[in-house]
Amino acid sequence: MEALDWMGPSVMNITTIAYDWVSTVFDAPLVSRAVVFGFPIDGHIVVEVLLIAVILFLLSRKSYKHPKKPLTEKEIDELCEDWQPEPLHPPITKEMLSQPRVLESAAGTHTTIEGRDIVNFSSANFLGLIGHEKLIDSCVVSLEKYGVGSCGPRGFYGTIDVHLDCEARIAKFLGTPDSILYSYGISTIFSVIPAFCKKGDIIVADEAVHWGVQNGLYLSRSTVVYFKHNNMASLESTLEKMTRGNRRAEKIRRYIVVEAIYQNSGQIAPLDEIAKLKEKYRFRLILDESNSFGVLGKSGRGLSEHFNVPVDKIDIITSSMGNALATDGGFCTGSVRVVDHQRLSSAGYVFSASLPPYLATAAIAAVDHLEQNPALLSKLRKNIGLLWKELSGITGLKISSSPLSPIVFLNLKNSSGSSKNDFKLFETIVDKVLKEDSVFVVASKRSVLDKCNLPLGIRVFVSAGHTKNDIFKAAESLKRIAETVLYDHCLNY
């Protein structure tokens, strides 16, 4: 009670003071007559300004949302029950069931299918080394000494002295400081590209590169720009666009990726022009010589010898040994820095078992044989020229590969518009050629994952081991059957 007595008057005092203050603010004639910028304002203006400020403030706030409640266990259970996955594979159609031909002997220039002797134009055996005694003898020696597999990656006792010898031999043959071996042809390029190209780098690649290169480009996570297939003007304009105005381009690594002889079209990349462009715009060149090593050049040293470009102008050369050298595996060569870098950062080299030693010895024997017999190359060129001459007159088909390419591509002169129908036509031709004339050629197949858009065709792989008769037989058979099949096809449509 005393507290109230004490507090009472002081509260009264405070309220009186507050009331007086408020009334002075609102009713004081002096304040209410304040003149701001020449306009007289009244006391109630203050209240209105405050109200407007509050309205604006409320309008600017976001509308009120309920906080997100996490799903209950029962709801998660229901969602999991309801969810239906797609099947792992789409429904199997008839064309998926086509079986490849089964060979019963070595895939050399002549082979056996279903007991018949067949002339084989489907193996990339460009120098005819399949079945050669020198290779087989060196393999037998190696198999007896080292067994079949190497049982470990290169870092953990999987390096056998034949690997080191093979790397030195290839480097000596090509004239580069060093080289590195990979255990599988296709894994070479898609391990090399991510080892050098990281996120943020610029890569300019041809649009018709094969799946191995595409996979490598995707895994590298760099910025990839494609230029029109084998079109130097398109390449130059792309390089110009990539480097113009880009001041940071000095610090970013830049690469051009091309193939020497394109797997998908048989065209040859003009190395002299590419080398000039690369030096002008300061790009590094990665060249895939899978189909040109052992084929182009006076002594088979590849695209650089063919165009007389010094081999050290190309920064990185990769190749698969499964074509001209008739073994398996791949290699990459370049400067010492390039090769050493891959020994620790190339995924397909570090994390995978090394090449079986007998394949490395076969590679050494093949390179030795090639160096001693450069006549194989002129024979191959003669065979290609002969086939070109014989095949140039077919109605309905045209040869779309380069005259020097050992892979001869035959495309339809007038495509039906859908690649599926084209493919059926090619398959009919190929089947008939095999059944009636015992000549084995193949229609190119594309995977769902392949981004290349070039038209499909029939591929004829020419080898230095083919005789004139083989070539005449194949050409004559293809001409006859292609003409009949395409004629029937035109009649029906």
Binding site: S122, I130, I136, C151
Partner: protein, 497 residues
């Protein structure tokens, strides 16, 4: 699982810190010296292949101990082999072969069943097939690369593993990288074990699907991740996932552990996810008849959607396979890039696998296969238990032929490796980046061709070197006291019955 003692962690971090500081000092000196040297004209204007810190680990840490890795050999990688000596004139930057070699005990190669060297049943057949089919077919499987041998191998491996059909490729790494993008694409989810191999990671990345990781070998965490992902759907759009694949390995090569397959398969079945089992190390090495993890743990192979394996480890060859239902294999043969664009497997290697499987199954008319399987199991269990008794920290489960011994400290890696080599035992040491930075280890792979005498010699050497280097982190088990002959009671004076 690894139990890292606190003091060891501190000393390891300190060692790496010291190495880092010294490396940086040397880099600074190199920069100063380079200012005086004029850079070659060719490299001007080009960005360097590796900028600054990108290859710091390679230049300053790895090159110093480079002689412990990539040791060349000059004979077959059997139980005993010849390791080539190498020398360096410039502080380990470049190594060249001296031409001499030492005979060492091989504890590093993946030679689980002993097929690495010439074998009395396999090698004559391999040489025959070499003469008949030559070392390579030079063409892809769909063109002219399929021979009768390839078909035989695919039938045999499908029967061996217990699936309806199989397809073979020329390299194990490419098998993973090329199959996973075919089975799953954008809009799908891949859940993979945190310690999966680099080929699986590459394949998962190349597919375009979302990748999530679950804790190593923990089925309960896998269930949590599955529930969370199915209920939330795809990121940002919350649409339901198209399909989910769970990828696990049979034996994890850096831990030696077996996968907890029955639990993981049960979880996947419950949530309708597909299972992908990578048996690179376990096919041929475990299980009563070598059929891998499914046989050992009693899982029906048809419960697993896709089984993958390699021929490099147990069968002494090269290549990989995928075994699954008939429709999946037909689809893969139609569209897998490794089947359509890559050279087919080398025919002698195919024959080696066929002969090796026949030996393992006993179809060659002898019981060498059964002896090999028994030998590897006994060898692994004996070696592991002896190492644990000596006080080493050994990882891995029983029956697994892979045993990592923890080293931790970076200086112990080269000293352990070099000391063992001096005593003619060849050991594999693994450091960053194949393992986490602090968990360096030495990895031993036991083979069926190791005899008991070989293993005892290896144990002696490892024990001695381990003592010197200081990696016996656990207390040594006391040796059981030898039974002494009891003193004759009558002889003790004063003791009368």
């Amino acid at each position: 699982m690894v139990r890292l003692p606190y003091t060891t962690a501190l000393t390891t971090l300190f060692s790496y810190g010291l190495l880092f500081v010294f490396g940086q000092l040397r880099d600074q000196f190199r920069k100063i010296l380079d200012l005086f040297k004029s850079s070659s004209l060719k490299e001007k204007g080009y960005a360097p292949i590796c900028l600054g810190l990108e290859d710091f680990y390679t230049r300053r840490l790895y090159l110093r101990i480079q002689d412990c890795f990539s040791r060349p050999i000059s004979s077959a990688p059997d139980a005993w082999f010849d390791v080539v000596e190498r020398q360096s004139n410039d502080g380990n930057k470049t190594l060249y072969r001296t031409g001499k070699s030492t005979r060492c005990l091989n504890l590093g190669s993946y030679n689980y069943l002993g097929f690495a060297s010439a074998d009395e049943y396999c090698t004559p057949r391999v040489i025959n097939s070499l003469k008949k089919y030559s070392p390579s077919t030079c063409s892809v499987r769909v063109d002219g690369g399929t021979t009768k041998l390839h078909e035989e191998l695919e039938d045999l491996i499908a029967k061996y593993v217990g699936q309806p059909a199989a397809v073979c490729f020329g390299m194990g790494y490419v098998t993973n990288s090329a199959i996973i993008p075919v089975l799953i694409g954008k809009g799908g989810l891949i859940i993979s074990d945190s310690l999966n191999h680099s080929s699986i990671i590459n394949g998962a990345r190349g597919s375009g699907a979302t990748v999530r990781v679950f804790q190593h070998n923990t089925p309960s965490h896998l269930e949590e991740v599955l529930r969370e992902q199915i209920s939330e759907g795809q990121p940002r759009t919350h649409r339901p996932w198209k399909k989910i694949i769970v990828i696990v390995e049979g034996i994890y090569s850096m831990e030696g552990e077996l996968c907890k397959l029955p639990e993981i398969v049960a979880v996947c079945k419950k949530y309708k996810a597909y299972t992908y089992l990578d048996e690179a190390h376990s096919i041929g090495a475990i299980g009563k008849s070598g059929r891998g993890l499914c046989e050992l743990l009693g899982v029906n192979p048809t419960d697993i959607d896709i089984m993958m394996g390699t021929f490099t480890k147990s069968f002494g060859s090269c290549g990989g396979y995928i075994a699954a239902s008939k429709e999946i294999i037909e689809y893969l043969m139609y569209t897998c890039p490794a089947h359509l664009y890559a050279t087919s497997m080398s025919p002698p290697a195919v024959e080696q696998v066929i002969s090796a499987i026949k030996v393992v199954l006993g179809e060659d008319g002898s019981n060498r296969g059964a002896i090999k399987l028994l030998q590897i199991r006994e060898n692994s269990n004996f070696f592991r238990s002896e190492l644990q008794k000596m006080g080493f920290e050994v990882l891995g489960d029983n029956d697994s032929p892979v045993m990592p011994i923890m080293l931790y400290n970076p200086a112990k890696i080269p000293s352990f490796s070099r000391e063992c080599l001096e005593n003619n035992v060849a050991i594999v040491t693994v450091a960053f980046p194949a393992t986490p930075l602090l968990l360096a280890r030495a990895r031993i792979c036991i083979s069926a061709s190791h005899t008991r005498v070989d293993l005892i010699k290896a144990l002696e050497v490892i024990s001695r070197v381990g003592e010197d280097v200081g990696i016996k982190y656990f207390p040594v088990e006391p040796m059981k006291p030898q039974l002494q002959p009891q003193p004759q009671v009558e002889n003790i004076p004063g003791f009368q019955h």
